[in-house]
Amino acid sequence: MAQNDASGGALSAADPAGPAAIEAAHLVKQYKQTRAVDNVSFRIARGSITGLLGGNGAGKTTTIAMIMGLVLPTSGRIRVLGHPMPQERAHVLGRMNFESPYVDMPMRLTVRQNLTIFGRLYAVKNLAERIRELSSDLDLDDFLDRPNGKLSAGQKTRVALAKALVNQPELLLLDEPTASLDPDTADWVREHLETYRKTHDATILLASHNMFEVERLCDRVIILKRGRIEEDDSPDGIMARYSRANLEEVFLDVARGRVEVPAS
C-alpha cells in the first residue's frame, strides 16, 4: 500500500519520471473536529493524467481546492508548475484552469459573453479566434449566443469545459467532470480530454467517482480514504495487487476494508 509519504519527498514508486506539475508534501486540512486531509503527499508528473478517487468525504475536493489555492492547508506545502502555492499563485493562475460542480458560469450571460469575459481575465490573445476554435472543437456553435441558464446539463458541461480550456492551460484540474452526464456526452468529454492532453502535453488531475472513466483516462490513480492516501499506482498495478478485474471492485474493497493487501 502506498502511504502518506514518510520521507517528505512526496514521491511514490508509481510516479513517472520528469518535472513535476504538482508537488504536495504533508498536506493537512483540519476543519474544527474534522481532519479532511491527513498528511497527504504526492508528485504529479507533467503531461500525465492522474485520477483522484475516494468516497464522499474522502478529501478529494479539499485536496484539489488546496492545489488551486481556494482553501489554505492547515500545514504542508504545495508547488504548482514550480511555484509555491499560494504565495506565488499570481505566477501560475494564468497557466492553469479548472472545472468543478461547485461553481457555475453566470446564467444570464450568453456562452459567447462568458467566454469573452474569462478569455479577457486570462489575457487570451486573439480571443475571438480562440472562441471560434473552442466553439468548433466542443460543438458550441448552435448555442453560442444563448444564455448559459437556458442550456441542458450536457451543453453546460461543454461550456464549462470551454471555459477551462480558454487559456490553453498547462495544468487542468477537474472535479467530477462527467457527473450527471448521459453516457454519450460523458464519453465525448473523455475523448476530448484525451485529445487535449496529447495535443498540448497538458497535465490533468481529475477527481471522479466514475471508475470506468479513471481506468480509461488515467496513467495513475490515487485512492483517498478518510483524508489519507490508501493507494497510489497505475490502474493496472492496483488491479493486479488486489487481483481484481476492474477499479470498481478495487474501490469497493478499499472502501469496505475487505482485502488485506501486502505493502508493495
Binding site: K29, Y31, T61, T62, A65, M68, G69, L70, V71, L72, P73, T74, S75, G76, P86, Q87, R89, A90, L93, G94, N97, F98, S100, Y102, V103, D104, M105, P106, M107, R108, L109, Q113, T116, I117, F118, R120, L121, Y122, A123, P147, K163
Partner: protein, 272 residues
C-alpha cells in the same frame, strides 16, 4: 502556512473584463435596470412634496430651500453607491461564480476596483433621473451647487465604497447568510450621520460619535451651503481624511476575511 498578500501591479484588461461582465448582466435584465431608478425616484417624490408642504408653513425651511430634498439626494448617493458595489459582488455569489473568479488571475484589488466602477455606473443610472426630477418638479438644482456638489459626491462615494468593501468581505467569509447586512448596515448610519437634522440635535455624548462618520461632515456642509451660503472646505477635508482611514481599514479587513474564507473553505460553498 503563508497566506495571500497583496500582489503589486494591476491589469486594466482584467478590470475591464469584470466591468463588461456586470454591464452584460444589466443589459440582459430590465428589472435590474428598473430597480436602479425606481427607489431614488420614489424617494425624491415623497420628500419633495414634504419639503413643499413645510416650505409653505415654516419660515426657516422656506429660507433654507432644498435642505430636505438635497439631503435626500446625497443620502441616496451614499446608500445607492454602497448597494451598487455590494449588489455586483452578490451577483457573483448568487451565480456561484466566485470560485471561477478566485481561480482566475483576477487579483482582489482588481476585483474591488471593478466593483467601484460598477457602483458609479449603477449610481448614475439611478441618481441622474432623480436629480432631473428634483429640478423640474421641485425646482431644486443639485448641479447648481457647483464645485461643493463634487466634494459632497466624492466624500459620500468613498464612504459607500468603504462600507461596500467591508460588507462584501463579511459575505465572502460567512456566505449568503450574511446577505441581509448588505441591505441594512447603511441604515445604521442614517441617524448618526445627521442626514435630515444638524449634529447639535443629538445628545452631547453622541455628537463625537457622529463626527467620526464622514457623511456627517457632508450633510453639515450641505446645510451650511443652503442656509448660510457658505461652503465649509474644512468639513470636506476632515471627511476626506476619515474616508482615507476607512478605505484602508476596509481593504485590510477584506483581505483578512478573504484569507479567513480560504482557511475555513467558505469559497467552495458560498451558500447559506
Amino acid at each position: 502556512m503563508s497566506e495571500l498578500s497583496l500582489d503589486r501591479g494591476i491589469s486594466f484588461q482584467r478590470i475591464g473584463a469584470m466591468i463588461l461582465r456586470y454591464w452584460y448582466l444589466l443589459l440582459s435584465s430590465w428589472p435590474r435596470l428598473l430597480e436602479l431608478m425606481y427607489w431614488p425616484i420614489l424617494q425624491v417624490i415623497t420628500w419633495g412634496f414634504l419639503q413643499s408642504y413645510i416650505a409653505q408653513n415654516a419660515g426657516y425651511f422656506a429660507r433654507a430651500g432644498g435642505t430636505l430634498i438635497g439631503a435626500v439626494i446625497l443620502w441616496d448617493i451614499l446608500f445607492r453607491g454602497q448597494l451598487g458595489f455590494s449588489v455586483s459582488f452578490l451577483e457573483e455569489m448568487w451565480a456561484r461564480n466566485l470560485g471561477n473568479l478566485m481561480m482566475s488571475p483576477l487579483k482582489p484589488i482588481e476585483f474591488l476596483l471593478a466593483l467601484m466602477a460598477m457602483s458609479i455606473i449603477r449610481l448614475a443610472l439611478g441618481v441622474i433621473p432623480m436629480t432631473l426630477l428634483a429640478l423640474y418638479v421641485f425646482d431644486f438644482n443639485f448641479y447648481g451647487l457647483g464645485l461643493p456638489a463634487i466634494a459632497f459626491f466624492c466624500n459620500l462615494i468613498f464612504t459607500s465604497w468603504a462600507v461596500g468593501i467591508f460588507v462584501s468581505g463579511l459575505v465572502l467569509r460567512n456566505g449568503l447568510g450574511a446577505e441581509s447586512i448588505v441591505w441594512t448596515l447603511m441604515f445604521g448610519l442614517l441617524p448618526l450621520a445627521c442626514v435630515y437634522y444638524p449634529v447639535k440635535v443629538l445628545p452631547l455624548w453622541l455628537q463625537p460619535v457622529a463626527w467620526c462618520l464622514p457623511p456627517t461632515y457632508v450633510f453639515e456642509g450641505l446645510r451650511s451651503l443652503l442656509t448660510d451660503h457658505v461652503f465649509r472646505g474644512d468639513l470636506m477635508l476632515w471627511a476626506l481624511v476619515i474616508n482615507a482611514v476607512l478605505l484602508a481599514a476596509s481593504f485590510a479587513a477584506f483581505i483578512a476575511l478573504l484569507n479567513s474564507a480560504r482557511r475555513h473553505g467558505s469559497l467552495l460553498g458560498g451558500g447559506e
